[in-house]
């Protein structure tokens, strides 16, 4: 029998220092465009290049609507002009308008231990893969008191990815209804925020908020593991929302 115990010990600790300290390991986040000062002509050209309409031109430059940006990098490469500034951050979570209005306290009840039910409402696999990484030794969310649970009845947080396909609408409603109060919903990935490249359409909703109330939005296509973690921490008020909230938080959720 191969000695897995010894192998495990020898592998040592790889876990990220986040959220105590920032983790700057290369490749930990794909980064994302951020609001950039540009002259009118360049701003016009870049806005035209964006295939999802995520770039919004204004007087001094261009803003980014993170509910739609799919990280296609067309505003970053081969433009022949100045490009969008690219931020290498990952603290991307923002509160939805619904959560801000409700203003409920969650930390007092769930500050240290929290159960999360993940739900795939038509996600492509990249979001799922990034969520799955949270359990790997690099991110190891157990150390923060987060646990993934297979049953909604134990769950405090519903983490949803995907635009919500027609066939997943009812399972999503049922899962949400089966969770005890108080509960929060974290929508991760642009599909879950706005339908992404898929919705709204004849068969997909335009994101999770079309079906159940959403508290935290984590943009990204897909959001890297630390962005998801940031969203989860935000849901229990253990961190602050992203500073780059242009347009993302303004939309009704």
């Amino acid at each position: 029998m191969f000695n897995w115990f010894y192998t495990g010990l020898k592998a040592g600790i790889r876990t990220t220092p986040y959220p105590k300290k920032a983790d700057m390991a290369p490749g930990i986040s794909p980064g994302r465009p951020r609001a950039t000062r540009l002259d009118a002509q360049v701003a016009e050209a870049l806005t035209m290049r964006c295939p999802t309409g995520a770039l919004i031109k204004h007087q001094g430059g261009v803003d980014v609507d993170y509910r739609h940006c799919v990280h296609c990098a067309r505003c970053r490469r081969n433009t022949g002009t100045q490009v969008m500034d690219w931020s290498q951050d990952y603290d991307w979570g923002v509160l939805s308008a619904h959560a801000e209005r409700a203003g409920h306290r969650f930390r007092d009840i769930f500050g240290r231990s929290l159960h999360i039910r993940f739900l795939d409402a038509g996600a492509c696999g990249a979001c799922m893969s990034e969520a799955r990484q949270l359990n790997n030794p690099y991110y190891n969310i157990h150390r923060l008191g987060f646990f993934i649970t297979p049953t909604p009845r134990d769950a405090d947080i519903l983490l949803v990815a995907g635009p919500v396909t027609d066939a997943m609408r009812i399972p999503l409603q049922k899962t949400y209804a089966a969770m005890p109060e108080p509960k929060r919903v974290v929508a991760m990935g642009v599909c879950a925020l706005s339908g992404g490249v898929f919705g709204p359409s004849f068969i997909s909703a335009g994101g999770v908020a079309d079906v159940i109330p959403v508290d935290v939005l984590v943009p990204g296509c897909p959001p890297p593991p630390l962005a998801i973690l940031h969203g989860l921490l935000l849901a229990v008020e253990r961190t602050m929302p992203s500073r780059l909230t242009t347009h993302a938080a303004e939309t009704e959720a």
Partner: protein
Amino acid sequence: MAAASVMQPPAAAWQELHRICPVRWPKVSVRTDHTRHIAHLMVTPATVRPVCLWLFGEAGYHFATLVAEEFDGTWHLTYVFYDPASHGWAYVELRQPLAQTSVISIGDTVHAADWHERETEDLFGLRFEGHPKLGEFVLHENWPEGINPMRKQFDARAPFAHHQQKTVWEPPTIVEAPGAFIMPIGPVYSDFAESAHFVIETTGEDMLRVLPRFFYKYRGVEKIAEGQTTERVLLLAERFSGSSAFAHGFAFCRAMESLCETGVPPRARVLRSVFAELERLRHHVAVIAGICASTGLAVAQAQGASLEEDLLRLTAQVCGHRYLFGVLKPGGLTLAPDARCLDLLRERAHALNLRLEKLYAGLRYSSSFLDRLEDVGLIRAEVVKAFGLVGPVARASGGAADLRKLFRYGAYEQVDFAVPTETQGDGYARLRILFQEAAQSAAIIERLLDDVPDGPVCAEVIPRAGAALGFAEAPLGATFHWLRLDAAERVQRYRISTPSFRNWHAFRVAVEHFSFQDFPIVLATFGLSNAECDR
């Protein structure tokens, strides 16, 4: 099931079909496209079945995809086959008026076409005469009968409200045996499982029957692509199945390039193959970690998952994205990594492969782990042939088809590699294939990076109207993307045939009659994606 004769019949190379077919079937005419290696077989409603059965059963062709199109006021049905012996294609083309909505089924013999026919029936309303099981498939019980979303007049943009009716789905038949009960799994189950539903009928230990229900994740990708620019559709191609995004983007770009006769510059050809192998490597490592998890081998799972994360980070460093989104464009690539970047990739791919070898060595000496995989989830060679299985699942059961090797597209003509095959067809054979392929991907990356040609990474694509097929060997097997553009450079038809769609078809064959606790393990060794299957 399969009507394949035991005797090996004489080869019917694609170049020969124009001679052979009209003799056998005087009503069939053949046009040969020598640049793309395609024999177009124009068939009639009466000859479509005998021609397809002959290609599949006697001539040794493999079934690739069935494309239904509502085009110019006519039904265009294209049954795509390819010949692994002569490395060419046979397109069996049937045209009939729109009012004529029935076609003869081939799915009973060409079992690989079975699900294609069910899907086409559900989405287009075409009836396949003789098919034993038509009806609710992609669209579930909530969807009203008689509304076929792939028909041209159906509007894809408008939300289609029909949620008032909440009918409850029940399995069409149930197993009757003493003590038998139904164990439903899903669509929401397990920690991080994709949404799918399995109805398992058991008497307590053995799974007597397993009825999978998929398409919970049907996003209508083929429908919403219609009328869009190719720029937008590329986003869909990359994003409908994120774990094999590059392979599908690759197949889409190759369809564009085949249609527009674009020559991809040598540097881009090499780098595309490098990135495709990087994706395969990461994909297989993730599946391996999943297999370890399914057997509860926590340390090995942690090792696999760490390797996966390292590969994701490496990918982001080289390509700017952890899942290779936004790297491809028709004609080449959007980015030109510099020499330092490629050196990093070479070095790291090598080092990561060494770690993978260690993991493999560890697992091979873990008898308690192997006990769970050996002789579990058996797929026999006949099933591979009949169901047209592809990818690692097929290669673990003696099927050797690999589009990289058969058609040597892109830079695969420059590297020599053997396609690993195993014959046991059990869970352990699939694990071995995954390890061998991952190691081979790492080796191909190293070899290709030895000599990356200089020059541009993208050629200009001059769009034209027409249709073409793009294909690639995705991590899970062969994928086929059919693309039709109109004169305004808009997509008229986009048809995606994926390896998960193909292999899920045979999943029940692998799990039935094994015991209940083997289910998650067989599931993990298949390693399939529902996003890729459902589209």
